[in-house]
């Protein structure tokens, strides 16, 4: 990337606050990053437990464990917890840890707001999860909260709405912090086109967040007033229109999908050059491709609702614009592949996860293209094919990228190398089981099994059993991940400052000591 002349990592007065106050009143980006990552890990296991409940019920036809109402609550809250509690906070945690280190800044630009945006989250999720224990149960209309179904929820409805508001406020504050930090606190000489790609991806994601989280907030506010204050935004009896909710929701929802995946692109763009020992192929193209994907994400929303009955011209527009996204995404996939071409590859755990991402995310991308095709979508709409599609994008896509990032930067955080053998075991068990879990869901969907149902026709039994077995192996194999991390935190062979044996570790984060000192870059490094 660039040569660094002045890299005074200040570690001679590494005094940090102690006790609970260090975490409650944290303003240090590394502490807040750690809290986000730990929170996200807890949410992964909670959301994962809900997923295992779902797979348990679907292991065979008929009702075994839950009543249908509770099953619907599990489905709805699994999605909300995984999207807003697990994947997004994990990326914000990585942003907190790595952005200041990568741009040579001493901290995030707004450290107290950073603290606030983290500490909102535990309250938001306590509220959301507590709603499951109310007499009427939690939200059960799906994470999309479509009216009129969602308006039939019981009195826990405002708890869900308020929780979503809090998550949104937290995300917006996190996004403001990322934008201001990257725009204003880069080391001298670090022009925008020298930014590490993880920072670029996050900068673009942050703009997306600012544009669309308020739209979700608006949509759920209107649901709330429809429910309790007699308005009729989405109620046809009062002249409203439930389809309008779907338009507003997906105007948020589609960019949200990219909020969940763009930081993952950034991570993979950091890891592949390191373990290919070659500079990233087409840096500028990667930046422009990311920006194009972000732009296109605003003009494709109605592909989520082709079957509501829209004009043919509308269907054509949204079909074409959706297919257009394959172009910048293809640029990225080809650039990652070209980076590896004739490289001196090695397969440490971060690279293994990045490679699995490359293959499996692409499967999710292709099934997305199939769904973009209107006549085909009429068949796939609301089947397990859709479930298979977005789980391929989010699990071996976003979640694998998060794991790759943790395995990549963990030695920089803890100062110790983790157990490579165990990490590789974690990789292989996860990768094989995630495919056993999600691939059969394509077959189920194509055969016509609808999504969001607790019981199904006996013809779907075999693949559901296979999927459930994969689900349980995948779920429990994540305990290995936690074990590898805990083991590294407790101690191990010391990591070098550069950590990885590669000429491509040229980013500023590799110029500070391992573990990264509590206060870094008090004197800004000079970047050429």
């Amino acid at each position: 990337m660039h040569a660094v002349t002045d890299t005074h990592a200040v570690d001679h007065h590494d005094h940090k606050p102690h006790g609970i106050g260090r975490w409650l009143f944290a303003t240090n980006h590394k502490d807040i990053g750690t809290m986000y990552l730990v929170f996200s890990c807890v949410m992964f296991f909670l959301g994962g437990a809900m997923a295992l409940g779902i797979r348990l019920e679907l292991f065979q036809p008929g009702m075994q464990f839950f009543d249908p109402g509770f099953y619907n609550q599990l489905v709805t809250n699994h999605a909300l917890v995984m999207i807003f509690g697990a994947v997004m906070p994990a990326f914000v945690g990585l942003a907190n840890w790595m952005i200041p280190l990568q741009i040579g800044a001493p901290d995030m630009a707004l450290p107290r707001m950073n603290n606030y945006s983290f500490w909102i989250l535990p309250f938001a999720f306590t509220l959301l999860l507590a709603s499951l224990f109310t007499p009427s149960g939690g939200a059960a209309g799906g994470w999309t909260l479509y009216p009129p179904l969602s308006l039939q929820s019981g009195n826990s409805f405002p708890m869900t709405i308020f929780a979503i508001h809090l998550m949104g406020a937290s995300s917006i504050m996190g996004a403001i912090n990322v934008i201001v930090t990257i725009m204003n606190m880069r080391a001298p000489g670090m022009t925008l086109l020298k930014l590490p790609l993880f920072c670029w991806a996050w900068l673009i994601t942050a703009y997306l967040l600012i544009a669309v989280m308020p739209v979700l907030a608006g949509a759920v506010t209107m649901l709330l007033t429809d429910h309790y204050f007699g308005t009729s935004f989405f109620n046809p009896a009062g002249g409203g229109d439930p389809v309008m909710f779907q338009h507003i929701f997906w105007f948020f929802g589609h960019p949200e999908v990219y909020i969940l995946i763009l930081p993952a692109f950034g991570i993979v763009s950091e890891i592949i050059p390191t373990f290919s020992r070659k500079p990233l192929f087409g840096y500028d193209a990667m930046v422009y491709a990311t920006a194009s994907i972000a732009f296109l994400s605003f003009i494709v929303w109605a592909h989520h609702m082709f079957t509501v009955g829209m004009p043919l011209a509308g269907q054509m527009f949204f079909m074409m614009s959706t297919m257009l996204i394959a172009v910048p995404t293809g640029v990225k996939v080809f650039n990652w592949t070209s980076t590896m071409w004739k490289g001196s590859l090695s397969f440490e755990p971060p690279m293994l996860f990045a490679l699995a991402f490359l293959f499996l995310f692409t499967i999710g991308g292709f099934s997305g293209l199939m769904l973009a095709f209107v006549p085909a979508d009429y068949q796939y709409q609301d089947t397990y094919f859709v479930v298979a599609h977005f789980h391929y994008v989010l699990v071996p896509g976003a979640v694998f990228a998060i794991m790759a990032a943790v395995y990549y930067w963990l030695p920089k955080w803890t100062g110790t190398m983790y157990d490579m053998t165990l990490a590789k075991w974690h990789f292989w068990v996860s990768t094989i089981s995630v495919n056993i879990l999600f691939f059969p869901q394509h077959f189920l969907g194509l055969a016509g099994m609808p999504r969001r149902i607790p019981d199904y026709n006996v013809q779907f039994t075999d693949w559901n059993m296979v999927s459930s077995v994969g689900g349980f192996i995948f779920g429990f194999s994540q305990l290995l991940f936690v074990w590898v991390i805990l083991k590294a935190v407790r101690g191990g062979a010391p990591a070098t400052d550069r950590v990885w044996d590669s000429d491509m570790t040229t980013g500023l984060e590799w110029t500070v000591a391992s573990p990264a000192p509590y206060h870094s870059f008090e004197t800004p490094p000079e970047v050429h």
Partner: protein, 46 residues
């Protein structure tokens, strides 16, 4: 009357820019929130 003048330091300017950028972003967010509700009000109940 004593008037002291001083040139703002680079840090001061950075702080002003930081604050301005942060409030700008927040304003955009609030704008989107209000805009979508207002548009829905016009579009919705007819």
């Amino acid at each position: 009357m004593n008037v002291t003048t001083s040139t703002p330091s680079a840090t001061d300017l950075k702080r002003v820019r930081t604050r301005r950028l942060a409030w700008g972003c927040a304003l955009v967010a609030v704008g989107f929130y209000v805009a979508f509700i207002v548009v829905s009000l016009i579009q919705g109940p007819r």
